[in-house]
């Protein structure tokens, strides 16, 4: 096939693909597109997963090692900076696609393995490496004895609708995205649908907001469409400051064009001419790729003034957040865009009536928007066929904590949490016992052993007094102290409280005080401290309930959840801290009591030398002893002992 120049390619993709209503009936297009999308290749292609986690794991070094190898051997190979396939524990990931052969994916390829890997694979031999799998299809020859990527345990249980292109394509290339069916939905939207019918399709699909609330997105759009105003705005909420969840960042980094397409469709549906993507400044790679992708899409005439001669004007602006957790709240986010402090406002009026600069504004989460192009392209019925009776579609989770396969996973609604942990996540490492799943800090909800069979479903979670949260999924095993975790969450909320309403500002500080007293080292002969501790604990539940009921925004309302849920699900652990003054998991530093095992102690004096308060007595070559009254519980002796003679009681 004759190679096209950039301009010819653009004309081809725009005229014959995007603006061609008969494109699906043309088989000759398919072959041409499969070359552009790299489903068929005429020379070898190597993809390196260069998401943020890949880079942190060393993908940069791998990339330059491959470049060097190719230069040294004078090989004509396309080297692509890809996105992230989601399996963080296998980073850096390198995919190799030889002409006529199926694409094959290798995990944990560090720079020193590059030489061996390429030596073998370029000669069509399978190297000894961590093979994730191959992407076999009917137009290429499969590798013998290699499993399909979908058969890998991490991918087998997933339903990859939103993540379909992630890790497979060159994220910023608009050509590749169009060749894989991207922007088709947008081209159809502006040529075939009215804004009202787009809202109707989304409403019919029963798409629920993925930011945590689960409010129907279509309904929100219809409200905004009905509000009459000279200007409307669409805001994409990509703040994602919930520690322990980064699936939005992954999908933006790996497939930014999908987000752009979604925003264009959503802006058209509500009649907005200007849209903002509000993203955390720390997501430098996501911002960089997003800006490049916007620039590429603009060159294809996909945004700006009078798009494809349809009379539609939409512009997208990337706004960088200056880091404040409360920015995730829509009214606070709007204030931040306006250049003010990110403080939430009371609702109503809702932003869909009075938002940015008092104009109707729709704020949607990245994940919610990511669904939109698929719904328009495949129809509301198709979307409704995914998921269970009550909740439709899929949900992204960031699996992290004490779990074997860390990463971003997408599951169909209705999947049980047990399956996610043990099938997709691969279970808990080192044979430890499962304790809980923390569903994101902003919900503060736990899934415990008894509720593990709950399904990922808005209603079912509500029934057990929980909520889906934003998608954080931190697995906690028996080595973690739940009281310490609740203290950590409370400390986070105290730090991030914006200070506008009193229950949240003062309440979180008081809750933290109580938690600190509960985990403080018992003072000797200090009855006053004991009294304070009991007083605090007696008031804790009441205080938490008041904060939950009377705070202005969702941040304050969810701040006490961690404590309330710990009291509910892990009461005995709490009691042990309060009454017995012990931490069952030995995490709370101040509550640890150290002992020396006389049988094991060799009298090497290592602990004696380290002790900062001279609490250890004994002479060389004789067992030592810790004076409990003097010990401050710092644990230095425990770390110093080479014979495991220091025990924690």
């Amino acid at each position: 096939m004759k190679a096209k120049s950039a301009e010819e390619l653009k004309q081809f993709l725009v005229r014959q693909v995007l603006l061609n209503p008969r494109r699906i009936d043309l088989p000759q297009l398919e072959k041409e597109l499969s070359y552009i999308s790299r489903e068929r290749v005429s020379k070898p292609v190597i993809y390196v997963g260069m998401g943020t986690c890949g880079r942190i794991a060393g993908a940069d070094k791998t990339f330059s090692a491959i470049r060097e190898y190719l230069d040294d051997h004078g090989m004509d190979v396309d080297l692509v900076e890809g996105g992230c396939v989601g399996l963080c524990s296998a980073e850096p990931v390198v995919d190799v696609q030889l002409p006529g052969k199926a694409r094959i994916s290798f995990g944990n390829v560090y720079h020193e393995q590059v030489q061996h890997l390429l030596d073998e694979i370029m000669n069509h031999n399978l190297p000894e490496a961590n093979i994730i799998g191959q992407y076999g299809n009917d137009i290429s020859q499969s590798w013998e004895g290699v499993q399909q990527v979908e058969e890998h345990p991490f991918f087998a249980g997933q339903k990859r609708v939103l993540l379909d292109n992630c890790g497979l394509i060159d994220p910023v290339s608009v050509e590749e995205y169009i060749a894989r069916g991207g922007y088709w939905a947008f081209a159809d939207t502006i040529s075939k649908h009215t804004p009202a019918s787009v809202c109707q399709i989304v409403e019919d699909s029963e798409l629920a907001g993925r930011g945590g609330g689960g409010y129907p997105a279509g309904k929100k759009w219809t409200n905004a469409l009905k509000t009459i105003s000279d200007q409307k705005f669409l805001v994409c909420n990509a703040v994602e400051s919930d520690p322990g969840s980064y699936m939005n960042r992954v999908i933006i980094e790996s497939n930014p064009h999908r987000l752009i397409e979604a925003i264009l469709i959503a802006a058209y549906a509500i009649g907005a001419t200007k849209s903002f993507i509000f993203i955390r400044k720390e997501f430098t790679l996501a911002i960089e790729r997003l800006e490049k992708a916007i620039e590429n899409a603009r060159q294809y005439g996909l945004m700006g003034h009078h798009i494809f001669d349809s009379g539609v004007n939409i512009d997208i602006i990337v706004k960088q957040g200056a880091r404040a957790f409360v920015c995730g709240e829509e009214t606070a986010l709007n204030n931040s865009i306006e250049g003010k402090r990110a403080m939430p406002e009371s609702k109503p009026p809702y932003p869909s009536e009075k938002g940015l600069w008092n104009k109707p504004t729709i704020v949607n989460n990245v994940e919610t928007l990511f669904n939109v192009p698929l719904i328009i392209k495949n129809g509301a019925e198709w979307y409704k066929s995914i998921g269970n009776e009550k909740s439709k579609g899929t949900k992204l989770f960031t699996l992290s904590g004490k779990i074997k396969h860390c990463g971003t996973a997408e599951v169909e609604m209705g999947h049980s949490f047990r399956d996610i942990v043990w099938k997709i996540g691969g279970g808990i490492p080192n044979g430890k016992k499962f304790k809980a799943i923390v569903l994101g800090i902003n919900s503060g909800n736990y899934i415990i052993e008894e509720t593990l069979d709950t399904r990922v479903d808005f209603e079912e979670l509500r029934n057990i007094g929980s909520s889906l949260g934003s998608g954080g999924f931190v697995v906690v095993d028996e080595t973690i102290c739940m009281v310490d975790l609740a203290k950590f969450f409370t400390n986070f909320f105290k730090k991030e409280s914006c200070g506008k309403c009193i229950p949240c500002r003062e309440g979180t500080a008081r809750m933290l005080e109580i938690m600190e007293i509960a985990t403080q080292r018992p003072g000797k002969n200090n009855n006053f401290q004991t009294l304070e501790r009991f007083k605090g604990v007696m008031q804790l539940r009441g205080l938490a309930s008041v904060i939950k009921d009377s705070s202005l925004c969702a941040l304050g309302k969810s701040a006490p959840n961690a404590i309330l849920n710990t009291l509910k699900n892990f009461k005995s652990e709490f009691d042990t801290h309060i009454f017995e003054r012990k931490c069952p998991a030995n995490v709370c530093r101040d509550l640890r009591v150290f002992l020396i095992d006389v049988e094991k102690c060799t009298g090497c004096t290592a602990c004696y030398k380290k002790c900062p308060v001279d609490a250890i007595i004994g002479s060389a070559r004789h067992p030592h002893f810790i004076v409990e009254d003097k010990c401050i519980g710092c644990g230095l002796c425990y770390d110093a002992c080479k014979f495991n003679a220091v025990l924690i009681q």
Partner: protein, 159 residues
């Protein structure tokens, strides 16, 4: 080359309130922190009172009002890192460097910042020093990292 405040201001010709945060971010990227005179200049340019600018700038965690050290340590303290033991790392850093989060030590060598999540939970706990990541840390590994940075600084002085 000393960055020029006027050339940054020129990039925001609309002089609107919404320009404030991007402008401050740009200035911080160039200068490293927001100084008093710069904030006064920004106030005059955007016709916003200095009070209000401080109000906005101190609200967000991104803005700094003093220079960072030669090695700026960012410690991830998200849920996954906490579960993996980043509190112990934080205590160790605070003890060794004798600074708290958001401060710079006396020699101007290290500064410490606690961030809520850098999004690499699979590699927790981790720190970032001037763009370089150190993952899966233990106390011993952390000490090695700090020592290597100190040693590097020593050789700079000697040469």
């Amino acid at each position: 080359m000393q960055p020029n405040i006027e050339s940054i201001l020129e990039k925001f010709p609309n002089k609107q309130r919404e320009d404030l945060i991007p402008l401050l971010q740009k200035i911080q990227d160039e200068f490293g922190f927001l100084s008093e005179e710069i904030i006064t200049r920004v106030g005059a340019y955007l016709s916003i009172s200095v009070n209000k600018i401080y109000g906005v700038a101190t609200f967000y965690d991104n803005f700094r009002f003093g220079p960072v050290g030669r090695y700026h340590i960012r410690l991830c303290h998200g849920t996954a890192c906490h579960v993996a033991g980043s509190s112990t790392l934080l205590q160790e850093l605070e003890k060794q460097l004798k600074i708290k989060s958001g401060e710079t030590d006396k020699e101007g060598l290290f500064s410490l910042e606690v961030v809520s999540c850098v999004g690499a939970c699979g590699l927790a706990p981790l720190i970032e020093i001037n763009g370089e990541y150190f993952t899966g840390l233990t106390l011993a590994k952390l000490n090695e990292v700090l020592d290597s940075k100190r040693a590097k600084d020593q050789t700079v002085y000697e040469s």
